[in-house]
Amino acid sequence: MEASTRQEAPIRYLLSGNEAVALGCREAGVRLGAGYPGTPSTEILETLARLVPEMYVQWSPNEKVGLEVAAGAALTGARAISTQKHVGLNVAADPLMTLSYMGVEAGLVVVTADDPELHSSQNEQDNRHYARFAKIPMLEPSCSQEAKDYVAAGMEISERFDTPVLLRMTTRISHSKGIVEAGELRSVAVKGFRKDARKYVMVPANARARHAFVEERLDRLRAFAEETELNRVEWGDRRVGVVAAGVGYVQARELLPEASYYKLGLGWPLPLEGIRRFAAEVERLIVIEELDPFIEEQLLAEGIACEGKSLTGLLGELTPGRLGKGLAAAGLIDTAPAPAGAAATVLPRPPVLCPGCPHRSLFWGVKPKKGNVFGDIGCYTLAALPPLQTIDTCLDMGASIGTAIGSSKVATDGKPIFAAIGDSTFLHSGMTGLLDAVYNDADITVLILDNRVTAMTGGQEHPATGKTLMGKAARQVDLPTLVKALGVDHVQVVANHDQPAVRAAVEAAVAHAGPSVVIARAPCALMPVKIREIPYRVDPERCVGCRTCLRTGCPALSLTGGLTAKGLRQVVIDEDACTGCSLCFQVCPHEAIRLTSEEVPV
């Protein structure tokens, strides 16, 4: 390269942590990415699909398959990445635990995007434990620049130590933008698959030997942790020494700018000797970490005195306010930085099903059956909130069917038992549940909400949408055929917005003894295209203010009209928001809702 070009300033981008991981993949010569969508991890593969056409990326039906696909590439000597949200790694935990034994042929980085504060998750589990559990190294970026750099670092560690590497993101790292300096592109050749039964066939005799390898590898990783530049000491005021990784580090730097730091980039295994020496040099050792006392307990077990969870608590994100309070209570800062005034009491704005959402119409038709509805995870989980309140549980992806089966085997109240599950979720982990319902003849009705998209996470493709992540046409799985092949005899397909049809289908399904399936088919109102049919409006001559339409919970309706003769407030439809789904029109007992294209006498 010419000297003049070498002196040019590097290109700088403002990137989210997820976009930075994608750039890191590009620079590190990663060949394949696979995963299943899940906030806050989704944009990694989406960005790769959009901006790195030389890489092969795909959505898998679930995280287990996604990790296996990535592992297959790594075993074939190509660098690979697997992405998922924290609970996704539970689904992929089975391959993960034994991949630790197998090791890799080329680098394999497994991204877990945790969600402290449960911004969009069903739990707040701390996936750092997986690193220790699987005995694999873990990197924890604290900003977008590190998110990019740690991909290449992870690939190198993976190849050097023959191990998958965990890259642990959190919502604040994944979804915050920061400045990233681009690096050089590396091209890494694909080595090809190499047969090595003792390493790659994990039958007991081979796996026993590999377990010994894992323990020996861990010793080498511990030594590596002591020397790697991924961890560093930053000396400041020695009265306070902070040990922190990831977002904990930047939050601490904000509030304790003067302190000394042991900054961890390699979050596991810990450089215990380095931290012991650091501890000896400072008066007070503070561990600042979100969620569990992962670092703190390891230090205490080593006899390194420290404070941690007594300051930061176990719950949620370490926001400046929360951390500031803890630090102030411990006498480490004077007061919380800029004490906020009291918040005004303002009406809450809980998330709602969109105007025209087909889920609303389906649940409106299910509600009168007064059944127990075992729910699942997706946009439709919002039907658990008022005013619909038609979903009674939400556990994990695919759980609706299993829990409905279990309930059906013991329930004595005679209520109909439903499982409500989205199409993406059904293909993720509902099929085996339905097979169970058939095999064990469970008297349940499974409602498959077929909106042809993975809506909750922003509209990703899945095996029934007919398109791949890279935009290619794909064979579309036919849900009725699939369900029948699993052995369900009573299968109906119904259009969500057609209330009489929905009610009739639900009625027939409930009457059927044994497992029945209703496939409720109508496209998502928002994705991939925003649906906009002729909107409706309220005829003020006829609206009596009975509020029946409001009980659908459609956000396009509001109680902001004039008063009726009896002094009741009338409903108004926001014509810009109305998609013309017709549910309010169908439910209005007074024929007061009309298409805007119709003449309404004024």
Binding site: T39, H175, G178, Q251, P257, P320, A338, L347, S558
Partner: protein
Amino acid sequence: MSARTTNVLLVGVGGQGVLLASDILSQVAMEAGHDAKKSEVHGMAQRGGVVSSHVRFGERVWSPIIPEGGADVLLAFEQAEALRAMHLVAPGGSAVVNTQRIIPPIAAGKDWDYPENPLAEVRARIPATVAVSAREECRALGNEKMVSVLLLGALSASLDFDEDLWRKVIRARVPRGTEDLNWRAFQRGRELASA
């Protein structure tokens, strides 16, 4: 360049364009030579829920989150959201408030009412508040989809960035063919806040 970090808090309701505005603002800050970070939460919030985005810039920015009570400027896309966020503004801070009201379905129930006059309450706490009817202003310019850019124009009056820089970043971020119209929206916003 001052060592002090400037904190801009943007709030609104899902679908209003809060994230486009914070993207443009943070890009402008970076191109002006600052360290810059921005943070927001995606996901459930986008189903008609509250959206807030934190933009921070200065010599060195550590946390991506603005400390509670540390916002220098509040840009609210919706009146009730301005009210919800106003306690996060630092004493002496300022606000730009879009007068739009988005009434959530929950207001139809017995428990909650949409506040009577949020703007007045915000003004009482933050005297340096500019109210902008962004939707109406954009409609007058011929395209309602420029609310974010018009509000950024109003915000720009209280920040120290070159107009040319704003112009460059906005042109690169808005749909092709609407660059000139968007720039007019920005200038209209700036004019309204400077008046």
